[in-house]
Assembly symmetry: C2
Homo-oligomer: 350 residues x 2
């Protein structure tokens, strides 16, 4: 890195991701195998994901992953049914997965507790195997990373995605998909190289305090996670939508004052992404595109290339330019990305 | 109404809601009873909601309603698993409910088709009993309203909430809750009286083009629907969050440049709402509060009172000031609320 690349805790943790992911592939393997065996034996009727913040975006990834590969209906838990209204749903045949970097959030723990009380299967994915969440769940996949200090989660997000992806490959004994995951750390390493491109490119976007972030299918989660990073570190209003949801109303907002970030790795939605991009440009919106497709990258005001991946793995890579974008936008806007105002690292909500 | 209240198609449809809801209580009763009987006999393991736009916000209401009163796990469908990836989940034991005013959206129809193909139970709630959605579903609850012409859905939204609420009361044979619903049309009529208060009050907010809208539990849906109305008619960026989600990151955005609309009818989350309001004001944010609680209303920069309702019914009332707010904000910003740019009434997404 050159001297003009600013080091922050956030930038360090973003850079630690390739090593952290390599470590998870090895160290979490046993716990993932055990969890997969328990899930196969249990044969859940439904999967409930309990999470907040970035972990909730990881849960969105699980919706597509477990839906597409395992035919499971995946619901995002509504914790207030447990904590506020004390009327939890029936979970006897449910697999509940609690996702939390710190494992501290009481609302996520409450969903896990209730699942086990009813006889359902409860799994947690957390970075702290001694946390209340790990204690409460029957099975814990620990990420085993060095503690994450930045308020804006980065390596715990990609680590959680990887643990979910590993779990999916073990659930259906798929050695091909399992092997494919081994390429993720290097692809993340390659993605980090884009930092200087992004540092230069975001300067054209410094005057905007509203953004749309659009993704679809597997990368619906990526759109939400990029938007969250931008909100946390740059205090801009960044709103995530799927392409379909955008068409059902929010499209009316789009004009030259509202830049759009489009997450569009090649895959089932490629044609749709191209049509959307052309429409956005007709409306005068400036666009940033994260993709492995040359045509889309050329059309964009700022095209950020990424390595090609099978679509189900692409969220692990596509988020990295988004993290760097949020980081560089914060720096160019004069914000301190390590100390977002009004936030602390561990948030305990009910 | 006085001469300075502007008539638009949108304002007319907002005003038609009390009569339309009265009509639904009578005309939809038979279909609701039949649907409830079929659901009880089927004993679904899980409920899947397929919807887009405002109907997707009605689906959020169903998550809490069917969770709290019937112990059902409710998932919002991810239509792209059906239409883009062709990997639908297993739905043999699922109740799928398709919500669409027009009944035209191919993605919603695809989820219904697949449910029936697999032997699951499929229900639709639509205003057009001759639509593709109604045709595809085994059971249809028709709202039976005069056609909705405004692009921004209002009466079809409250009509869908009412049909869902009626269905819930019939599913557990609860005559007390069923009777309580009879009071909704008058409460909506009472809420419409706030239009002049809102027309005057929004003038203080005309200079902002970014808003947060916050609600929790049953009124999580209300926050999303108010945000959508504002986006569609005023082209402002309005982002909806639950109180808990706000604490996990987006709180960093809040300052004197970001007004917050808080939907907080009295109920299980009242204490939390009050604490949030105080915190928002410490951060300098201007606040609009929709509530039946005097303390909250007094604390707000703009307090919009609503009739007291049991919390599970409150989303039917709390949305009305939000609709009026979006309408008046559009007018004062010089927008034409009847013709949002870039949108058409029927949106056909895949």
């Amino acid at each position: 890195m050159t001297a003009n690349v600013r080091q922050t805790v956030l930038s360090q943790e973003i850079s630690q991701q390739p090593d952290a992911l390599e470590q998870i592939l090895i160290a979490a393997d046993d716990a993932v195998c055990e969890a997969a065996a328990r899930i196969r034996a249990f044969e859940p009727e439904v999967v409930l994901l309990a999470a907040r913040g970035s972990s909730d975006n990881a849960a969105r990834y699980a919706q597509y992953l477990f839906g597409a590969f395992h035919g499971l209906v995946v619901a995002l838990a509504t914790p207030s049914l447990f904590t506020l209204y004390h009327r939890p749903p029936q979970l006897r045949r449910a697999l509940t997965i609690g996702l939390s970097q710190s494992g501290q959030s009481p609302d996520v723990v409450a969903v896990i507790d209730e699942t086990r009380r009813q006889g359902g299967l409860a799994l947690s994915i957390t970075n702290d195997p001694r946390s209340p969440l790990a204690d409460a769940s029957g099975i814990c996949i620990a990420l085993g990373m060095a503690p994450e200090h930045s308020v804006a989660a980065t390596k715990s997000y990609t680590g959680t995605l990887l643990a979910l992806a590993m779990l999916s490959t073990k659930m259906d004994h798929d050695p091909v998909r399992g092997e494919a995951l081994q390429s993720v750390p290097q692809a993340v390493r390659d993605a980090l190289v884009q930092r200087q491109l992004l540092a230069a490119g975001v300067r054209a976007f410094v005057g905007y305090d509203r953004f749309l972030v659009v993704g679809r299918g597997y990368n619906y989660c990526t759109a939400f996670e990029i938007a969250l990073k931008m909100k946390e570190t740059s205090y801009v209003v960044a709103e995530a939508h799927s392409i379909a949801d955008l068409m059902h109303g929010p499209m009316a907002m789009v004009d030259e004052q509202l830049p759009v970030i489009l997450v569009a790795p090649r895959g089932a939605g490629s044609d749709e992404s191209r049509l959307l991009l052309l429409r956005l440009q007709e409306l005068g919106a400036k666009t940033i595109v994260i993709s492995d497709g040359e045509l889309l990258l050329e059309l964009a005001d700022l095209g950020v290339p990424m390595s090609h991946m099978p679509e189900w793995m692409s969220p692990l890579i596509a988020i990295v330019p988004g993290q760097l974008l949020a980081l560089e936008l914060a720096i160019v806007r004069g914000r301190d990305p390590d100390h977002p105002r009004g936030l602390s690292k561990v948030t305990r909500t009910l």
